[in-house]
Point group: C2
Chain length 351, copies 2
């Protein structure tokens, strides 16, 4: 038997509800195989911070590190000052565990209605850099609260950091039928960072000669995501542009209720982390209204990362079948609860 | 007679073609009134740079300054290294002339097809800060071209700079029926800059108590621009987020062929600049294919800025009528040239 030690960070808001269903589907996916999943729950997020003032201690981090992977629900609550949990917990996990590939697939599944009138065949992945850019926390403020306040935010980009994520993106593009990579940046304005990204894509392309590339400024990318999203195959971009584009990508493919993500450490020096793109949605928390599909698709990415390819495919197929069936239900019909969706997905996975 | 001294920077690519039509419509708008427009053409852009190595000299800038307003076509050409003309000419104009309000209306005119299936009634303006943020050119690179390269980009935000643009945005919101202002930023990650923006909006709100406000992270804003753009009235945001959101806003309201912008110096210490949001589009330059509508709508903003409100409204009405009529033409019919569209708009304005 192979044992998978999973760190579970349910977190805030709807995090608990969706993670519960994600775990149920994960169980169903490995049931009957020689894979055994053991979970350790981590009490992290708003509750813990209110109780102890802690976000993620060194001890937490060391303990998380000893797992094979992390399943995360959602982080963030209006009762906590903005940035405290995002920077002190979510981004601290991504940065400390060197999740330099923030992978976000955007696929318009059959039966899902896009808000675009003519979306076409949308199936691309965004490889968002996860450990650099404007997310490094390298800014500050002077004379806060006075008319002379100045606040800065520094985007840090290194050849080391850009090259490794660009190489990962090329490898992903090469493994896909279309073999196309689009770099998104803003090199006509952010000339230093932008030119580093551009030169890196050109250089690494030599190692992947069968991958075609193009370039879009981030503003133009939002246009194409609206008018012709099927043009994209793999997008590689920095941490902030990736944040923006992946929410837009989620919107055109049916909403963040369906958008999965993987924070990957490709060198496997620390566990990778799998999380739905949606946040904690405090307005609907605890009501069984959240759609666990994004978490379940994140579980599919988790299984793939752990080499359980068949199980991963079965989970994705279950979601695809469920989404296709949703569209055939009469409109205005009964809305399923979080647990019901989870149960039905688990049943499909169990076959 | 009132004389308007207009600096004309046709620039690169389709810039020349669309500016010619913009000027024709401007002439038509003031014809028969006591307003006389005189124009000075500035040879700026790719041609000048290739010939002289100059982008915008001190002498150019001093000369531009002596005008009442600037009409700009487009800047940028693939033959010039990325950033040279953008930073050295376009952004230099915006920064030197203190265009701190970069105003970009997003309106879905009757007869225009949105790529969104159910766009609703879209009519908002983005007040994009124009003189700070990641656009300040405050970055650099070390060990360029080596594996140890590090490139930084610094976003600079000051209380002075944020407050003046936020106040302008509140005033614009107050003058509109819905009186609603949305701040877009990313204060959960860019905590220093984000909190400055947030505190400033809260503080300035006291001067405009009848304006309601809300806040969206930039990633969430791209979702709402896709799923519910009619929720927006006035958006205020920083230079880079504004760049991104206004291209998306243009896309959902019929494309950048229709998107106008005004780079405004509200203190009138220097001329404001009016330009279509689209770029130089070198692929279609010189072929009479460019749609001059965005430039003509920019002329409408120019007239409004100069206090010629009736003329401004007539120009916008002409565009609205033209767009409404386009939709009633049989599909696949003859496509009008740049000059034909300009001529018909001028004729409508002349009445
Ligand atoms: C919550 C926030 C810090 C986070 C991010 O900006 O990365 C989120 O928007 C995401 O995309 O995962
Ligand atoms: C050409 C470029 C420098 C410019 C910008 O980024 O501001 C353009 O995209 C715009 O929006 O006017």
């Amino acid at each position: 038997t192979r044992s998978i030690d999973l760190a579970v960070v349910a977190g805030d808001g709807i995090g608990t509800e969706v993670v519960e269903q994600g775990l149920a589907v994960l169980e169903a996916a490995v049931a009957g195989s020689d894979v055994k999943v053991t979970t350790t729950e981590f009490d992290l997020g708003a509750r813990r911070w209110h109780a102890t003032g802690e976000t993620l201690t060194d001890a937490d981090l060391e303990s998380v590190r000893r797992h094979d992977a992390i399943l995360l629900g959602a982080i963030g609550d209006p009762s906590v000052p903005s940035g405290v949990l995002e920077r002190g917990l979510l981004l601290k996990l991504r940065f400390s565990l060197d999740h330099y590939v923030n992978l976000r697939p955007a696929k318009l599944y059959d039966g899902v209605t896009s808000p675009l009138a003519a979306p076409g065949d949308v199936d691309f992945v965004v490889v968002r850099e996860g450990t650099e850019g404007p997310y490094v926390g390298n800014g500050g403020a002077l004379r806060i609260g006075t008319p002379h306040e100045i606040a800065t935010e520094v985007s840090v980009n290194t050849a080391f950091g850009v090259e490794r994520v660009v190489r990962d993106a090329f490898a992903r593009a090469q493994a896909r039928p279309r073999k196309h990579l689009t770099l998104v940046h803003k090199h006509n304005v952010l000339v230093h960072a932008g030119h580093l990204w551009r030169r890196t894509v050109e250089a690494v392309n030599a190692e992947f000669p069968d991958v075609t590339t193009d370039y879009l400024h981030v503003d133009a990318a939002t246009i194409f995501l609206t008018t012709n999203p099927s043009r994209f195959d793999v997008i590689v971009t920095d941490n902030l542009f990736g944040d923006i584009l992946t929410d837009q990508a989620a919107a055109i493919t049916g909403g963040i209720g369906l958008a999965a993500s993987a924070n990957i450490n490709p060198d496997r020096t620390a566990p990778s982390m799998f999380e739905p793109v949606h946040g904690s949605a405090p307005d609907i928390a605890g009501q069984g209204k959240a759609d666990p599909t994004a978490t379940v698709l994140s579980v599919s990415l988790l299984l793939e990362h752990l080499g359980l390819t068949d199980e991963s495919k079965r989970v994705e197929a279950a979601v695809a079948a469920d989404l296709a069936e949703r569209s055939s239900l009469p409109p205005g019909g009964r809305v399923r609860t979080t647990a019901e969706v989870g149960r039905e997905l688990a049943a499909r996975v169990a076959g």
